[in-house]
Point group: D2
Chain length 377, copies 4
Amino acid sequence: MPATRNRLEAYPPNDMNPKKSELLVEEIEHIDIKQHNVVALVDAMSKMAFSARDLGRAAQIYDAMLRDDECAIILCLAGSLISAGLKQVVVDLVRNNMVDAIVSTGAIIVDQDFFEALGFKHYKGDVFMNDDVLRRLAIDRIYDTYIDEDQLRICDSTCGEIADSLEPRPHSSREFIREMGRYLSEHAKNRESVVLSAFDKNVPIFVPAFSDCSAGFGLIHHQYRNPNRHLSIDSAKDFLELTKIKIDSKQSGLVMIGGGVPKNFAQDTVVAGDYLGFDVGMHKYAVQITVADVRDGALSGSTLKEANSWGKVDLGAEQMVYAEATIALPLIGSYAYHKGNWKNRAARTYTKLLDDTVAMPVTNRQAEMATAAAASS
Amino acid sequence: MPATRNRLEAYPPNDMNPKKSELLVEEIEHIDIKQHNVVALVDAMSKMAFSARDLGRAAQIYDAMLRDDECAIILCLAGSLISAGLKQVVVDLVRNNMVDAIVSTGAIIVDQDFFEALGFKHYKGDVFMNDDVLRRLAIDRIYDTYIDEDQLRICDSTCGEIADSLEPRPHSSREFIREMGRYLSEHAKNRESVVLSAFDKNVPIFVPAFSDCSAGFGLIHHQYRNPNRHLSIDSAKDFLELTKIKIDSKQSGLVMIGGGVPKNFAQDTVVAGDYLGFDVGMHKYAVQITVADVRDGALSGSTLKEANSWGKVDLGAEQMVYAEATIALPLIGSYAYHKGNWKNRAARTYTKLLDDTVAMPVTNRQAEMATAAAASS
Amino acid sequence: MPATRNRLEAYPPNDMNPKKSELLVEEIEHIDIKQHNVVALVDAMSKMAFSARDLGRAAQIYDAMLRDDECAIILCLAGSLISAGLKQVVVDLVRNNMVDAIVSTGAIIVDQDFFEALGFKHYKGDVFMNDDVLRRLAIDRIYDTYIDEDQLRICDSTCGEIADSLEPRPHSSREFIREMGRYLSEHAKNRESVVLSAFDKNVPIFVPAFSDCSAGFGLIHHQYRNPNRHLSIDSAKDFLELTKIKIDSKQSGLVMIGGGVPKNFAQDTVVAGDYLGFDVGMHKYAVQITVADVRDGALSGSTLKEANSWGKVDLGAEQMVYAEATIALPLIGSYAYHKGNWKNRAARTYTKLLDDTVAMPVTNRQAEMATAAAASS
Amino acid sequence: MPATRNRLEAYPPNDMNPKKSELLVEEIEHIDIKQHNVVALVDAMSKMAFSARDLGRAAQIYDAMLRDDECAIILCLAGSLISAGLKQVVVDLVRNNMVDAIVSTGAIIVDQDFFEALGFKHYKGDVFMNDDVLRRLAIDRIYDTYIDEDQLRICDSTCGEIADSLEPRPHSSREFIREMGRYLSEHAKNRESVVLSAFDKNVPIFVPAFSDCSAGFGLIHHQYRNPNRHLSIDSAKDFLELTKIKIDSKQSGLVMIGGGVPKNFAQDTVVAGDYLGFDVGMHKYAVQITVADVRDGALSGSTLKEANSWGKVDLGAEQMVYAEATIALPLIGSYAYHKGNWKNRAARTYTKLLDDTVAMPVTNRQAEMATAAAASS
């Protein structure tokens, strides 16, 4: 029979006082794309219509990015992806050189990934559960998923401790998250972590709204207790660093799960590079998985063709997929993994580029480009 | 590289006068669930959160229906499913005793399935194509799919010819579609057809709004040319026939793709059976795939828990899946197929029940039930 | 303070056994567009962007229909509109010659409008209510609205009684609904009714899937009790009748609330007229209010530009509005009402045309057109 | 006739080379809630069902916030609201003490509001326009709205100039936006500006992802040209400042347009205050307008009941409204404005609180609370 028990069976009307331990029972398990070869399935989908075709085409475009030696790949993450069972997919993309930089919301990176690396879990929950009951039990709900609020507080304070240990100067979120990775390399209780594997592979992670998550609590605690001498999180530095990556790459591709700030932030690097005087091209490839509607005019659901009007995304190899990420990302990720074209791809180790560089231009390619741009203007 | 050419490449600004033959090029191909075993993938999805878990649970509930000897399975179809590449999935469900009756929109059964059985095709199209250009070329567009309007007219008139050949009395849509199946058994140019395989397997197909499709054109042509002596399509008879099936079954389950009339029509048989004096139970199992939003209050997106308040669907084994059908149905169908529990399932051949029966109650079970109901009232 | 009580206040955890009378308390009230002049507001919205502009433009297009002497207006209704408080809007459109024919789902016309005319009510409900509790109390839920199931059964049986009283031949749904109007003209307990006002104004109402509602229960009861001599509901006749209206009108416009069968059915009359040999034009005007997404390829959310590829809807005066009907229809209806252009508009009384006509062509215009069509072919 | 010309009329197939001046013609006009009294309309909507009732209740809850002397009101803005014609609504809320702090995306505040204050405009555009044509003309598209990219570059560089003029230390976005307001107080060409009116009224504006907008380009240009001595944008400081406001207020209410970072950021202040040791209560009131679906588990569409499980939002006076903002905000804003309860409300001038304060606790209330919290722990 189906795995999840029905609410009415589980919590009959006369049991309005469940214990916390009765609700935090079934752990969310992360899907492993390495175990499921869907290449033939997804290719078949690409010959259908509607979202199946779009999904098939998006998977093929991602594979084309992996086959293109010149293409740097930026993965954009929004929505509650890690808590929903997609952690292993992202870890595998990082470990297998299938992504060169990550732009994410804070919740994904801190509240969910770093949280699990500290040894904590997400649990299957009930979307119809009485939230007042949950609040009194200190259980936080994300749609159909439960989290132990007490454990989340430990995650908050660990971020605060890391902040206390760092130099009191402006850091990019990328620098701070790197220190979280360093912390995990010593203390992780669960090493299947995006933060840790990105640390190991020198894949930079950017969170443009870094205070807007569990880390934020740690950070304001740090600043509040150290009013005259504390670190700060410089979001402008984040943008400059990601722009450096765009400038350094000959071609670039975006793999976007959800919309929000990460989508816009990564797209904007084209304009930013241009604005700094470099002759950067549009993102050559772009795919996005989203259920956001296009008709409210907000960026999350805006088409990639619209992004072309802004000069951010090239036409020809862009594809929106109208699907919820927990279904679509395992299919697209598995397709790209089992096609195997990542095997010929070198790690770009952009963290090193960013750590070594103080000012731009620094690489030969950058110097060339800046010169060329100056000459033509 | 990705299969579908980009619009700008294909139809550059200076080519605003494409030929019809240039647009009707790539045929939609139907996905074959028999070729793709996703049992492990879908079981893994059931351990995640959000739509993946819902999809996994829905697939497991469908499998539970197939394992339940007492359960009759009604498949409800809405949306442009056949034109989108899902024909073979439905054909395989019919041929392998995985469904006992079908309730559908007319477009799916007539404009799309019967149409293809006549030898015609659906083609990959462009959602951004200029519709005025298409109209002048007599190409009809369904989102990203093209149809040759001239071929559709042949489909219309074939329905008219079938109408001309039948007895001038009220028919249920189910009876008429059976005659379409009989026509195909002789004349089909493509035998991979839902209408034809349902004819062969004695699986009844109901289209409660039967005039609202290609058949409607044939039917009004028939009535218009034969004002005093013509057949009619009796939608009440459809409802009575489907209710007979519900009465005859000990248990029932609904597999609903999209919402609309088919969803409501099939659910209502519980109330209808009760209204006629039979002690029928609620649908024991129910799954629905839909992207319709719940918040506009329309039936298409209404939850199956809401259907429980109406006494139509039992709680415990119901599941909504928020996903577009071209992605979700291949996964759910493939799961149920490769689990193999249909192998122990007998064909119910409800067409025979309906053809043989003039009035109710006729079966022993029906007589028993009517007696029991009378006794207890 | 806000009008609706909070669930937790109203039904504390220890009250899992509310009485029916405690839940059916606050009646849904129907909004009266005559009391709210929003002309300036909606004109201001038309100068903004996104849905406000679309809504403004749709209202202006509806007003243009009312100013066009040659234009017949067909109102298409889907979703739970009457139960949601939109009954008075539709009644006012009918009474003030702002609509010439209606195509609807059955639930709107029978379960909701006819139901209220019999003296019954809809009640404010709670979307988070336990549906199992409701079912045991015989309360049906439509999202946030409650209905007394016992009253609905009276509605069912009243339809059965009407069926028993009619001639045992095929009827269009339009003919049957006219008899429901006749019944109400004598027995209505609440005369603010779409069915009754349409009866009074000779505005035909079509329900292409007529068995799929409360009337269906009455109809199968009628057929089941009278196996050898009963009426039937001929959906082909419906389509032929609506096509006659399209043929008779010089121009036509569609005002569509929701999608589903009514949208398709009304659009198809263009093709149907053409198919019967009449030189009918496309619908010149078309507006649709819907929250259905376009990306699943289903008709409900398909754009009116897509309908142009089918030759059904002219470009130039079509507008989709992405909004839920309870918000959008009061604004659009009020705009058109207070612009006042309906005052110069004659009632078309299409019911008379349909009742008087047995075969086509009958009017001079029809004869002309048929001759012209024959000459040019 | 409808105001917006049809694309096919305006840009016939043979004109694929429009001039920029032909496309930037009709300016978006901002709706003025002061001109439209919808109190009776919205009260009537609150007696219906579905979204109309939700909208009515949300308007009533906002009015309840304005009547509650103890309640500080935080307005959260996401989506392209200012470009869509909602600027005047927000300006009027600020000027009339109807909002005490704003949390927003960067695009709204910088690319759209500050941009218009510099004298630039947004234009009606065509959602079906060829984006490649637009890109070549340097026209940016937001769904159905056009922007002159050249003017946007001036907006970018103006932000850079402001950055160059400020002290090279970490600033909160709130501090930087205050300087933008100061700049406008001297240089604004259009004084109907949210940034300017908030400057005048001492209403703080927070943009938690401040680099993710036009200002970001100016900021990285500033940092790139001044590698050793530049300002930075400290997002932790933003969070600390907004938390101070929450701590200072006895009660608080959220008015959220769209979701994204602003929604989460403002909700989190409850947890943040608690984390710093203050006994802050949940947000007592909360309304949100959104079209985001709840089923993908992302925060934007998550219910306010879910936020209760996190201890962020109280139950009893929270309401989601499923509607697009350009339709819903004019109705809700107009309702609250014309009810007039803001007339008794004092300006809270939180900017002064934040500018005067270096460390917490500073107010008597804060000192009391911190003492109480310490005593009880």
